[in-house]
Amino acid sequence: MPYEGSRPLPAPTPDELRARIPGWGADLAPEHRRTWQQLEDVGDTGAHWDLPERQGPDRGRERSIEHGMLPPVWGTAQPLHGLSGAIRRVAYDRFSETKNTRWLLLVLGDRVDAVTAHARSLLSRRPDDPITQTGVLAEPDHRPLTSRFGRGRVDLRHTWLDPIIVVGPWVLTAVLGIRALRRLGRRG
Protein backbone atom coordinates (compact mmCIF):
# COMPACT_ATOMS: atom_id res chain seq x y z
CA MET A 1 0.00 0.00 0.00
CA PRO A 2 1.24 3.51 -0.72
CA TYR A 3 0.63 4.37 2.93
CA GLU A 4 3.97 2.73 3.57
CA GLY A 5 7.28 3.74 2.04
CA SER A 6 7.71 0.92 -0.43
CA ARG A 7 6.13 0.45 -3.86
CA PRO A 8 2.94 -1.58 -3.30
CA LEU A 9 3.25 -3.86 -6.33
CA PRO A 10 6.84 -4.45 -7.41
CA ALA A 11 7.45 -5.05 -11.11
CA PRO A 12 8.76 -8.39 -12.43
CA THR A 13 12.54 -8.67 -12.50
CA PRO A 14 14.47 -7.42 -15.55
CA ASP A 15 15.42 -11.01 -16.41
CA GLU A 16 11.79 -12.09 -16.42
CA LEU A 17 10.82 -9.15 -18.61
CA ARG A 18 13.78 -9.62 -20.96
CA ALA A 19 12.77 -13.25 -21.50
CA ARG A 20 9.17 -12.32 -22.32
CA ILE A 21 9.38 -8.99 -24.19
CA PRO A 22 11.48 -8.61 -27.37
CA GLY A 23 13.88 -5.71 -26.90
CA TRP A 24 12.96 -5.06 -23.26
CA GLY A 25 15.17 -2.35 -21.77
CA ALA A 26 17.10 -1.80 -25.02
CA ASP A 27 16.59 1.95 -24.69
CA LEU A 28 17.39 2.33 -21.00
CA ALA A 29 20.75 3.89 -21.84
CA PRO A 30 20.65 7.72 -21.89
CA GLU A 31 21.93 7.97 -25.47
CA HIS A 32 18.72 6.30 -26.68
CA ARG A 33 16.54 8.73 -24.74
CA ARG A 34 17.66 12.00 -26.24
CA THR A 35 15.58 12.15 -29.36
CA TRP A 36 12.52 13.85 -27.88
CA GLN A 37 14.31 16.50 -25.86
CA GLN A 38 15.01 20.08 -26.91
CA LEU A 39 18.69 19.80 -27.69
CA GLU A 40 20.88 21.88 -29.95
CA ASP A 41 23.05 18.93 -31.01
CA VAL A 42 20.53 17.47 -33.46
CA GLY A 43 23.31 17.04 -36.01
CA ASP A 44 23.03 17.50 -39.76
CA THR A 45 19.39 17.99 -40.67
CA GLY A 46 20.17 18.20 -44.37
CA ALA A 47 19.51 21.96 -44.46
CA HIS A 48 22.13 23.76 -46.57
CA TRP A 49 20.78 27.24 -45.83
CA ASP A 50 20.54 29.53 -42.81
CA LEU A 51 17.20 30.91 -43.92
CA PRO A 52 15.39 29.06 -46.69
CA GLU A 53 14.99 30.79 -50.02
CA ARG A 54 11.59 32.43 -50.42
CA GLN A 55 9.00 30.30 -52.20
CA GLY A 56 7.76 33.10 -54.42
CA PRO A 57 5.39 36.08 -54.39
CA ASP A 58 2.82 35.74 -51.62
CA ARG A 59 -0.19 36.94 -53.67
CA GLY A 60 -2.03 38.01 -50.52
CA ARG A 61 -1.38 34.78 -48.60
CA GLU A 62 -3.16 34.86 -45.23
CA ARG A 63 -1.02 34.48 -42.12
CA SER A 64 -1.25 34.45 -38.36
CA ILE A 65 -0.60 37.88 -36.86
CA GLU A 66 1.68 36.11 -34.38
CA HIS A 67 4.17 35.73 -37.24
CA GLY A 68 6.54 38.67 -37.69
CA MET A 69 6.60 38.02 -41.44
CA LEU A 70 5.23 35.58 -43.94
CA PRO A 71 7.42 32.48 -43.49
CA PRO A 72 9.51 31.55 -46.54
CA VAL A 73 7.56 28.39 -47.43
CA TRP A 74 3.83 27.68 -47.37
CA GLY A 75 1.15 25.45 -48.78
CA THR A 76 -0.89 26.52 -51.76
CA ALA A 77 -3.58 23.89 -51.64
CA GLN A 78 -6.84 25.89 -51.50
CA PRO A 79 -6.47 29.69 -51.57
CA LEU A 80 -9.07 31.85 -49.84
CA HIS A 81 -12.11 32.55 -51.98
CA GLY A 82 -15.72 33.69 -51.72
CA LEU A 83 -17.69 34.28 -48.54
CA SER A 84 -15.84 31.59 -46.57
CA GLY A 85 -12.57 33.21 -47.62
CA ALA A 86 -13.75 36.60 -46.35
CA ILE A 87 -14.67 35.09 -42.97
CA ARG A 88 -11.33 33.31 -42.72
CA ARG A 89 -9.51 36.50 -43.72
CA VAL A 90 -11.11 38.36 -40.83
CA ALA A 91 -10.06 35.58 -38.44
CA TYR A 92 -6.44 35.69 -39.59
CA ASP A 93 -6.12 39.46 -39.91
CA ARG A 94 -7.69 40.51 -36.61
CA PHE A 95 -7.21 37.85 -33.96
CA SER A 96 -4.20 36.18 -32.42
CA GLU A 97 -4.08 32.43 -31.86
CA THR A 98 -5.02 33.04 -28.21
CA LYS A 99 -8.49 34.21 -29.11
CA ASN A 100 -11.30 31.71 -29.32
CA THR A 101 -13.01 34.14 -31.71
CA ARG A 102 -10.31 33.35 -34.28
CA TRP A 103 -10.87 29.63 -34.14
CA LEU A 104 -14.66 29.86 -34.01
CA LEU A 105 -14.62 32.15 -37.07
CA LEU A 106 -12.48 29.57 -38.87
CA VAL A 107 -14.98 26.84 -37.96
CA LEU A 108 -17.77 29.10 -39.25
CA GLY A 109 -15.77 29.63 -42.45
CA ASP A 110 -15.53 25.85 -42.81
CA ARG A 111 -19.28 25.41 -42.54
CA VAL A 112 -19.99 28.22 -45.03
CA ASP A 113 -17.40 26.68 -47.37
CA ALA A 114 -19.12 23.27 -47.11
CA VAL A 115 -22.59 24.68 -47.84
CA THR A 116 -21.51 26.88 -50.76
CA ALA A 117 -19.37 24.10 -52.26
CA HIS A 118 -22.33 21.74 -52.05
CA ALA A 119 -24.59 24.31 -53.73
CA ARG A 120 -22.00 24.81 -56.49
CA SER A 121 -21.71 21.06 -56.95
CA LEU A 122 -25.42 20.88 -57.78
CA LEU A 123 -24.69 23.00 -60.85
CA SER A 124 -21.75 20.84 -61.88
CA ARG A 125 -21.41 17.58 -63.82
CA ARG A 126 -20.61 15.76 -60.62
CA PRO A 127 -22.86 16.86 -57.74
CA ASP A 128 -22.14 15.76 -54.19
CA ASP A 129 -23.54 12.34 -53.38
CA PRO A 130 -24.20 12.00 -49.65
CA ILE A 131 -24.38 8.19 -49.98
CA THR A 132 -21.11 7.31 -51.67
CA GLN A 133 -19.14 10.16 -50.11
CA THR A 134 -19.76 9.03 -46.54
CA GLY A 135 -18.36 5.58 -47.29
CA VAL A 136 -21.50 4.04 -45.87
CA LEU A 137 -21.57 1.53 -48.74
CA ALA A 138 -18.81 -0.32 -46.86
CA GLU A 139 -21.33 -1.35 -44.20
CA PRO A 140 -22.60 -4.67 -45.69
CA ASP A 141 -19.10 -6.09 -46.24
CA HIS A 142 -17.67 -5.13 -42.86
CA ARG A 143 -19.83 -6.82 -40.24
CA PRO A 144 -22.10 -3.88 -39.33
CA LEU A 145 -23.98 -5.66 -36.54
CA THR A 146 -21.39 -7.96 -34.96
CA SER A 147 -18.89 -5.09 -34.93
CA ARG A 148 -21.24 -2.92 -32.92
CA PHE A 149 -23.53 -4.90 -30.68
CA GLY A 150 -22.91 -7.14 -27.69
CA ARG A 151 -19.34 -5.91 -27.35
CA GLY A 152 -19.62 -3.22 -24.69
CA ARG A 153 -18.75 -0.38 -27.06
CA VAL A 154 -18.98 2.88 -25.17
CA ASP A 155 -19.51 4.96 -28.31
CA LEU A 156 -22.96 3.41 -28.79
CA ARG A 157 -24.14 5.74 -26.04
CA HIS A 158 -23.85 8.71 -28.37
CA THR A 159 -24.01 7.04 -31.78
CA TRP A 160 -27.73 7.79 -32.02
CA LEU A 161 -26.80 11.47 -32.15
CA ASP A 162 -24.43 11.13 -35.09
CA PRO A 163 -27.01 10.68 -37.90
CA ILE A 164 -28.92 13.70 -36.57
CA ILE A 165 -25.79 15.82 -36.66
CA VAL A 166 -24.78 14.54 -40.11
CA VAL A 167 -28.18 14.50 -41.81
CA GLY A 168 -29.67 17.39 -39.81
CA PRO A 169 -27.99 20.21 -41.77
CA TRP A 170 -29.11 18.63 -45.07
CA VAL A 171 -32.72 18.44 -43.88
CA LEU A 172 -32.57 21.97 -42.48
CA THR A 173 -31.14 23.31 -45.73
CA ALA A 174 -33.84 21.52 -47.73
CA VAL A 175 -36.61 22.91 -45.49
CA LEU A 176 -35.24 26.46 -45.66
CA GLY A 177 -34.79 26.12 -49.44
CA ILE A 178 -38.37 24.98 -49.96
CA ARG A 179 -39.66 27.83 -47.78
CA ALA A 180 -37.62 30.35 -49.74
CA LEU A 181 -38.92 28.99 -53.04
CA ARG A 182 -42.51 29.17 -51.77
CA ARG A 183 -42.06 32.78 -50.75
CA LEU A 184 -40.62 33.58 -54.16
CA GLY A 185 -43.57 31.78 -55.75
CA ARG A 186 -46.10 33.82 -53.73
CA ARG A 187 -44.43 37.10 -54.72
CA GLY A 188 -44.43 36.03 -58.37
Binding site: I21, L39, D128
Partner: protein
Protein backbone atom coordinates in the same frame (compact mmCIF):
# COMPACT_ATOMS: atom_id res chain seq x y z
CA UNK B 1 -4.03 12.81 -60.98
CA UNK B 2 -6.51 11.00 -58.72
CA UNK B 3 -6.74 12.36 -55.21
CA UNK B 4 -8.95 12.01 -52.17
CA UNK B 5 -10.78 15.31 -51.63
CA UNK B 6 -12.74 16.65 -48.68
CA UNK B 7 -16.31 17.71 -49.47
CA UNK B 8 -17.49 18.71 -45.97
CA UNK B 9 -17.93 16.91 -42.65
CA UNK B 10 -18.27 13.12 -43.15
CA UNK B 11 -17.97 13.50 -46.93
CA UNK B 12 -14.97 12.70 -49.13
CA UNK B 13 -14.54 11.47 -52.67
CA UNK B 14 -11.83 10.76 -55.23
CA UNK B 15 -11.43 13.48 -57.85
CA UNK B 16 -9.15 14.36 -60.72
CA UNK B 17 -6.88 17.20 -59.59
CA UNK B 18 -3.93 18.93 -61.27
CA UNK B 19 -0.58 17.29 -60.58
CA UNK B 20 1.47 19.11 -57.92
CA UNK B 21 4.37 21.20 -59.16
CA UNK B 22 7.77 22.30 -57.84
CA UNK B 23 7.13 25.60 -56.02
CA UNK B 24 10.40 25.99 -54.13
CA UNK B 25 13.93 25.00 -55.22
CA UNK B 26 14.11 22.34 -52.49
CA UNK B 27 10.77 20.71 -53.34
CA UNK B 28 10.36 17.19 -54.68
CA UNK B 29 7.36 15.54 -56.29
CA UNK B 30 6.76 12.03 -54.95
CA UNK B 31 4.63 9.43 -56.71
CA UNK B 32 2.73 7.83 -53.85
CA UNK B 33 2.66 4.04 -53.69
CA UNK B 34 1.19 3.46 -50.23
CA UNK B 35 -0.61 5.78 -47.80
CA UNK B 36 -2.47 5.20 -44.56
CA UNK B 37 -5.44 6.74 -42.81
CA UNK B 38 -4.47 8.12 -39.40
CA UNK B 39 -6.76 8.52 -36.42
CA UNK B 40 -6.18 12.25 -36.64
CA UNK B 41 -7.40 12.23 -40.27
CA UNK B 42 -10.74 11.29 -38.73
CA UNK B 43 -10.79 14.61 -36.85
CA UNK B 44 -10.58 16.34 -40.25
CA UNK B 45 -13.15 13.97 -41.75
CA UNK B 46 -15.52 14.84 -38.89
CA UNK B 47 -15.04 18.58 -39.47
CA UNK B 48 -13.25 19.19 -36.18
CA UNK B 49 -10.04 20.89 -37.30
CA UNK B 50 -10.50 24.61 -38.02
CA UNK B 51 -9.76 25.79 -41.57
CA UNK B 52 -10.20 22.49 -43.35
CA UNK B 53 -11.15 23.69 -46.81
CA UNK B 54 -13.31 22.00 -49.41
CA UNK B 55 -11.10 20.31 -51.97
CA UNK B 56 -8.32 19.56 -49.47
CA UNK B 57 -6.51 16.25 -49.88
CA UNK B 58 -5.69 14.53 -46.59
CA UNK B 59 -2.92 12.06 -45.84
CA UNK B 60 0.28 12.46 -43.86
CA UNK B 61 1.45 8.85 -43.76
CA UNK B 62 3.14 8.38 -47.11
CA UNK B 63 5.71 6.26 -48.90
CA UNK B 64 6.49 6.51 -52.59
CA UNK B 65 9.00 7.03 -55.35
CA UNK B 66 10.66 10.36 -56.14
CA UNK B 67 9.50 11.54 -59.54
CA UNK B 68 10.98 15.03 -59.82
CA UNK B 69 13.29 17.24 -57.73
CA UNK B 70 13.84 21.00 -57.54
CA UNK B 71 17.16 22.61 -58.53
CA UNK B 72 18.58 22.84 -54.98
CA UNK B 73 17.84 19.23 -53.97
CA UNK B 74 21.13 17.42 -53.31
CA UNK B 75 20.31 14.14 -51.60
CA UNK B 76 17.35 12.65 -53.49
CA UNK B 77 17.15 11.52 -57.10
CA UNK B 78 14.19 10.47 -59.25
CA UNK B 79 13.55 6.79 -58.70
CA UNK B 80 14.47 6.78 -54.99
CA UNK B 81 12.00 4.87 -52.80
CA UNK B 82 11.30 7.21 -49.89
CA UNK B 83 9.39 7.44 -46.63
CA UNK B 84 8.07 10.89 -45.81
CA UNK B 85 7.64 12.00 -42.17
CA UNK B 86 4.35 13.73 -41.49
CA UNK B 87 6.19 16.88 -40.38
CA UNK B 88 7.13 19.50 -42.96
CA UNK B 89 10.11 21.44 -41.59
CA UNK B 90 13.05 23.51 -42.77
CA UNK B 91 15.85 22.03 -40.63
CA UNK B 92 17.42 25.44 -39.97
CA UNK B 93 15.15 27.65 -37.84
CA UNK B 94 15.56 28.10 -34.06
CA UNK B 95 13.12 25.28 -33.32
CA UNK B 96 14.52 22.80 -35.86
CA UNK B 97 17.99 23.47 -34.45
CA UNK B 98 16.60 22.39 -31.08
CA UNK B 99 15.17 19.18 -32.52
CA UNK B 100 11.60 20.47 -32.47
CA UNK B 101 10.92 19.53 -36.09
CA UNK B 102 7.17 19.49 -35.51
CA UNK B 103 7.34 23.12 -34.36
CA UNK B 104 9.24 24.55 -37.36
CA UNK B 105 8.72 28.30 -37.73
CA UNK B 106 9.36 28.54 -41.47
CA UNK B 107 6.61 26.45 -43.04
CA UNK B 108 3.25 27.37 -41.54
CA UNK B 109 1.97 30.92 -42.06
CA UNK B 110 -1.40 30.09 -40.53
CA UNK B 111 -0.28 29.36 -36.97
CA UNK B 112 2.85 29.56 -34.87
CA UNK B 113 2.18 26.78 -32.35
CA UNK B 114 2.56 23.97 -34.86
CA UNK B 115 4.69 23.50 -37.96
CA UNK B 116 3.60 22.10 -41.30
CA UNK B 117 1.79 18.80 -41.79
CA UNK B 118 0.79 17.17 -45.08
CA UNK B 119 -2.94 17.23 -45.70
CA UNK B 120 -3.88 18.52 -42.29
CA UNK B 121 -5.92 21.65 -43.04
CA UNK B 122 -4.70 25.20 -43.44
CA UNK B 123 -4.13 25.39 -39.68
CA UNK B 124 -0.93 23.47 -40.38
CA UNK B 125 0.15 25.34 -43.48
CA UNK B 126 -2.26 24.44 -46.26
CA UNK B 127 -0.30 21.60 -47.86
CA UNK B 128 -2.20 18.94 -49.77
CA UNK B 129 -1.59 15.44 -48.46
CA UNK B 130 -0.56 12.11 -49.85
CA UNK B 131 -3.82 10.20 -50.21
CA UNK B 132 -3.31 10.94 -53.89
CA UNK B 133 -1.24 9.72 -56.80
CA UNK B 134 1.34 12.47 -56.29
CA UNK B 135 2.35 14.87 -53.53
CA UNK B 136 4.54 17.96 -53.24
CA UNK B 137 7.28 17.34 -50.65
CA UNK B 138 8.89 20.59 -49.44
CA UNK B 139 12.47 20.51 -48.09
CA UNK B 140 13.30 17.25 -49.82
CA UNK B 141 16.85 17.35 -48.40
CA UNK B 142 15.47 17.53 -44.85
CA UNK B 143 12.28 15.49 -44.40
CA UNK B 144 12.16 12.32 -46.48
CA UNK B 145 14.64 9.45 -46.30
CA UNK B 146 15.47 6.73 -48.77
CA UNK B 147 13.96 3.46 -47.50
CA UNK B 148 16.68 0.89 -46.82
CA UNK B 149 16.49 -2.07 -49.21
CA UNK B 150 15.85 -4.49 -46.37
CA UNK B 151 12.78 -2.56 -45.13
CA UNK B 152 9.34 -3.20 -46.64
CA UNK B 153 7.26 -0.22 -47.72
CA UNK B 154 4.53 -1.22 -45.27
CA UNK B 155 6.92 -1.21 -42.30
CA UNK B 156 8.31 2.12 -43.53
CA UNK B 157 4.79 3.54 -43.83
CA UNK B 158 4.12 2.93 -40.13
CA UNK B 159 7.29 4.86 -39.28
CA UNK B 160 6.05 8.02 -41.03
CA UNK B 161 3.68 8.73 -38.13
CA UNK B 162 1.89 6.09 -36.06
CA UNK B 163 4.78 4.05 -34.70
CA UNK B 164 7.17 6.98 -34.41
CA UNK B 165 4.51 8.95 -32.55
CA UNK B 166 3.87 6.07 -30.16
CA UNK B 167 7.59 5.67 -29.49
CA UNK B 168 7.84 9.43 -28.93
CA UNK B 169 4.97 9.26 -26.44
CA UNK B 170 6.81 6.65 -24.41
CA UNK B 171 9.94 8.79 -24.51
CA UNK B 172 7.97 11.84 -23.34
CA UNK B 173 6.84 9.79 -20.35
CA UNK B 174 10.46 9.63 -19.21
CA UNK B 175 9.91 6.03 -18.08
CA UNK B 176 12.22 4.74 -15.37
CA UNK B 177 13.12 1.04 -15.07
CA UNK B 178 10.26 -0.87 -13.48
CA UNK B 179 7.66 1.90 -13.91
CA UNK B 180 4.00 1.11 -14.37
CA UNK B 181 2.87 2.70 -17.63
CA UNK B 182 -0.84 3.15 -18.42
CA UNK B 183 -1.90 3.87 -21.99
CA UNK B 184 -5.35 5.28 -22.70
CA UNK B 185 -6.44 4.27 -26.21
CA UNK B 186 -5.51 1.11 -28.10
CA UNK B 187 -5.55 2.56 -31.59
CA UNK B 188 -2.39 2.27 -33.66
CA UNK B 189 -0.56 5.03 -31.76
CA UNK B 190 -1.55 3.73 -28.33
CA UNK B 191 -0.47 0.21 -29.30
CA UNK B 192 2.86 1.58 -30.54
CA UNK B 193 3.33 3.55 -27.32
CA UNK B 194 2.58 0.47 -25.23
CA UNK B 195 5.05 -1.65 -27.21
CA UNK B 196 7.70 1.09 -27.01
CA UNK B 197 7.33 1.49 -23.24
CA UNK B 198 9.04 -1.89 -22.82
CA UNK B 199 12.10 -0.70 -24.79
CA UNK B 200 12.47 2.06 -22.21
CA UNK B 201 12.34 -0.40 -19.30
CA UNK B 202 8.72 -0.36 -18.15
CA UNK B 203 7.86 -2.92 -15.49
CA UNK B 204 4.15 -3.09 -16.27
CA UNK B 205 2.13 -1.80 -19.20
CA UNK B 206 -1.65 -1.44 -18.88
CA UNK B 207 -3.79 -0.50 -21.89
CA UNK B 208 -7.34 0.88 -21.62
CA UNK B 209 -9.92 0.86 -24.42
CA UNK B 210 -13.59 0.03 -24.99
CA UNK B 211 -13.11 -2.29 -27.98
CA UNK B 212 -12.40 -5.96 -27.36
CA UNK B 213 -10.48 -6.48 -30.59
CA UNK B 214 -8.13 -3.60 -29.85
CA UNK B 215 -7.52 -4.91 -26.33
CA UNK B 216 -6.75 -8.32 -27.83
CA UNK B 217 -4.19 -6.60 -30.08
CA UNK B 218 -2.77 -4.83 -27.02
CA UNK B 219 -2.18 -8.23 -25.43
CA UNK B 220 -0.73 -9.92 -28.52
CA UNK B 221 1.19 -7.04 -30.12
CA UNK B 222 2.13 -4.92 -27.10
CA UNK B 223 2.32 -7.68 -24.43
CA UNK B 224 0.18 -5.47 -22.20
CA UNK B 225 -2.32 -6.03 -19.42
CA UNK B 226 -5.69 -4.66 -20.48
CA UNK B 227 -8.71 -2.93 -18.96
CA UNK B 228 -12.05 -2.71 -20.73
CA UNK B 229 -13.51 0.74 -20.22
CA UNK B 230 -17.08 -0.51 -20.09
CA UNK B 231 -16.44 -3.49 -17.82
CA UNK B 232 -14.15 -1.64 -15.41
CA UNK B 233 -16.83 0.78 -14.27
CA UNK B 234 -14.98 3.78 -12.88
CA UNK B 235 -11.77 3.51 -14.87
CA UNK B 236 -9.73 5.76 -12.58
CA UNK B 237 -10.75 3.72 -9.55
CA UNK B 238 -9.93 0.51 -11.43
CA UNK B 239 -6.52 1.88 -12.31
CA UNK B 240 -5.88 2.84 -8.69
CA UNK B 241 -6.83 -0.65 -7.52
CA UNK B 242 -4.66 -2.28 -10.20
CA UNK B 243 -1.66 -0.30 -9.00
CA UNK B 244 -2.07 -0.92 -5.29
CA UNK B 245 -3.78 2.48 -4.90
CA UNK B 246 -0.57 4.25 -5.97
CA UNK B 247 -1.60 5.23 -9.51
CA UNK B 248 0.47 4.70 -12.64
CA UNK B 249 3.95 6.24 -12.76
CA UNK B 250 3.46 7.28 -16.37
CA UNK B 251 0.17 7.74 -18.21
CA UNK B 252 0.01 8.19 -21.96
CA UNK B 253 -3.08 9.79 -23.52
CA UNK B 254 -3.31 8.26 -26.99
CA UNK B 255 -7.00 9.12 -27.44
CA UNK B 256 -7.36 12.86 -28.00
CA UNK B 257 -10.20 14.96 -29.24
CA UNK B 258 -12.92 12.41 -29.91
CA UNK B 259 -12.79 10.45 -26.68
CA UNK B 260 -15.80 8.35 -25.81
CA UNK B 261 -16.86 7.69 -22.23
CA UNK B 262 -18.74 10.86 -21.36
CA UNK B 263 -21.68 11.69 -23.59
CA UNK B 264 -21.78 15.29 -22.39
CA UNK B 265 -18.10 15.94 -23.06
CA UNK B 266 -18.28 14.11 -26.39
CA UNK B 267 -21.21 16.24 -27.53
CA UNK B 268 -19.74 19.57 -26.37
CA UNK B 269 -16.25 18.79 -27.60
CA UNK B 270 -16.40 16.44 -30.58
CA UNK B 271 -19.81 17.33 -31.96
CA UNK B 272 -20.63 20.95 -31.11
CA UNK B 273 -17.00 22.18 -31.18
CA UNK B 274 -17.47 24.20 -28.00
CA UNK B 275 -14.24 22.76 -26.60
CA UNK B 276 -10.96 21.79 -28.20
CA UNK B 277 -12.26 18.22 -28.20
CA UNK B 278 -13.64 15.85 -25.61
CA UNK B 279 -11.23 16.08 -22.64
CA UNK B 280 -12.47 12.95 -20.90
CA UNK B 281 -9.46 10.74 -21.71
CA UNK B 282 -6.99 13.43 -20.72
CA UNK B 283 -8.77 13.94 -17.41
CA UNK B 284 -8.71 10.20 -16.78
CA UNK B 285 -4.98 10.24 -17.53
CA UNK B 286 -4.44 13.05 -15.02
CA UNK B 287 -6.47 11.27 -12.35
CA UNK B 288 -4.87 7.86 -13.00
CA UNK B 289 -1.31 9.10 -12.61
CA UNK B 290 0.37 8.73 -9.26
CA UNK B 291 1.35 11.88 -7.39
CA UNK B 292 4.60 13.16 -8.86
CA UNK B 293 4.03 11.11 -12.01
CA UNK B 294 4.10 12.07 -15.68
CA UNK B 295 1.34 12.46 -18.24
CA UNK B 296 2.42 12.23 -21.87
CA UNK B 297 -0.13 13.57 -24.35
CA UNK B 298 -0.13 12.16 -27.88
CA UNK B 299 -3.81 12.56 -28.64
CA UNK B 300 -4.61 15.40 -31.03
CA UNK B 301 -6.73 18.21 -29.57
CA UNK B 302 -8.18 21.28 -31.22
CA UNK B 303 -7.02 24.82 -30.47
CA UNK B 304 -10.06 25.91 -28.44
CA UNK B 305 -9.94 25.78 -24.65
CA UNK B 306 -10.58 22.37 -23.12
CA UNK B 307 -11.90 21.76 -19.63
CA UNK B 308 -8.82 20.05 -18.27
CA UNK B 309 -8.33 19.37 -14.57
CA UNK B 310 -5.53 21.83 -13.98
CA UNK B 311 -6.11 21.76 -10.23
CA UNK B 312 -5.30 18.05 -10.11
CA UNK B 313 -2.14 18.61 -12.16
CA UNK B 314 -0.92 21.15 -9.61
CA UNK B 315 -2.08 19.34 -6.49
CA UNK B 316 -0.56 16.05 -7.62
CA UNK B 317 2.71 17.58 -8.79
CA UNK B 318 2.40 16.06 -12.23
CA UNK B 319 4.70 16.64 -15.15
CA UNK B 320 2.66 17.02 -18.32
CA UNK B 321 4.29 16.85 -21.72
CA UNK B 322 2.81 16.93 -25.16
CA UNK B 323 3.87 17.55 -28.73
CA UNK B 324 3.55 16.30 -32.24
CA UNK B 325 6.38 13.83 -32.69
CA UNK B 326 9.51 15.05 -34.47
CA UNK B 327 9.31 11.88 -36.50
CA UNK B 328 12.70 11.74 -38.19
CA UNK B 329 14.54 11.91 -34.87
CA UNK B 330 12.96 8.59 -33.97
CA UNK B 331 13.91 6.77 -37.18
CA UNK B 332 17.52 5.73 -36.54
CA UNK B 333 16.68 3.90 -33.32
CA UNK B 334 13.43 2.42 -34.61
CA UNK B 335 15.22 1.06 -37.68
CA UNK B 336 17.70 -0.61 -35.33
CA UNK B 337 14.81 -2.17 -33.38
CA UNK B 338 13.26 -3.51 -36.59
CA UNK B 339 16.59 -4.88 -37.82
CA UNK B 340 17.19 -6.53 -34.46
CA UNK B 341 13.84 -8.30 -34.77
CA UNK B 342 12.28 -6.47 -31.83
CA UNK B 343 9.18 -5.44 -33.81
CA UNK B 344 7.40 -5.28 -37.14
CA UNK B 345 5.30 -2.09 -37.26
CA UNK B 346 3.23 -3.34 -40.21
CA UNK B 347 1.56 -5.88 -37.89
CA UNK B 348 -0.75 -2.97 -37.05
CA UNK B 349 -2.19 -2.93 -40.58
CA UNK B 350 -5.46 -4.82 -40.76
CA UNK B 351 -7.29 -3.59 -43.87
CA UNK B 352 -6.31 -2.65 -47.41
CA UNK B 353 -8.32 -0.41 -49.76
CA UNK B 354 -7.55 0.94 -53.23
CA UNK B 355 -7.50 4.74 -53.47
CA UNK B 356 -10.78 4.64 -55.41
CA UNK B 357 -12.51 3.20 -52.30
CA UNK B 358 -11.00 5.54 -49.74
CA UNK B 359 -14.40 6.79 -48.54
CA UNK B 360 -15.13 3.22 -47.44
CA UNK B 361 -11.76 3.07 -45.68
CA UNK B 362 -12.61 6.20 -43.69
CA UNK B 363 -16.03 4.85 -42.77
CA UNK B 364 -14.77 1.43 -41.65
CA UNK B 365 -11.97 3.01 -39.58
CA UNK B 366 -14.17 5.75 -38.16
CA UNK B 367 -17.04 3.41 -37.25
CA UNK B 368 -14.65 0.76 -35.89
CA UNK B 369 -16.10 -1.96 -38.11
CA UNK B 370 -14.65 -5.39 -38.85
CA UNK B 371 -11.97 -5.22 -36.13
CA UNK B 372 -10.17 -2.49 -38.11
CA UNK B 373 -7.06 -1.17 -36.41
CA UNK B 374 -5.24 0.53 -39.29
CA UNK B 375 -6.31 0.83 -42.93
CA UNK B 376 -3.72 0.92 -45.71
CA UNK B 377 -4.47 2.75 -48.95
CA UNK B 378 -2.94 1.15 -52.02
CA UNK B 379 -2.28 4.05 -54.38
CA UNK B 380 0.25 3.02 -57.05
CA UNK B 381 2.68 0.32 -58.07
CA UNK B 382 5.91 0.07 -56.11
Amino acid sequence: MKAMTYRGPYKIRVEEKPDPTIQHPNDAIVRVTRAAVCGSDLHLFHGMMPDTRIGHTFGHEIVGVVEEVGPSVETLRPGDRVMVPFNIYCGSCYFCRHGLFSNCHNVNPNATAVGGIYGYSHSTGGYDGGQAERVRVPFADVGPSVIPEWLTSEDALLLTDAFSTGYFGAQQGDIAEGDTVAVFGAGPVGLAAARSAWFLGAGRVIVVDHLDYRLEKARSFAFAETMHLHESGDIVLAMKKATGYLGADVVIDAVGAEADGSVMQHVTGAKLKLQGGSPVALNWAIDSARKGGTVSILGAYGPLVTSVRLGDIVNKGLTVRGNQAPVKRQWPRLLEHIQAGHLRPSELLTHRFPLEHIAEAYHVFSSKLDDCIKPLIVVGEE
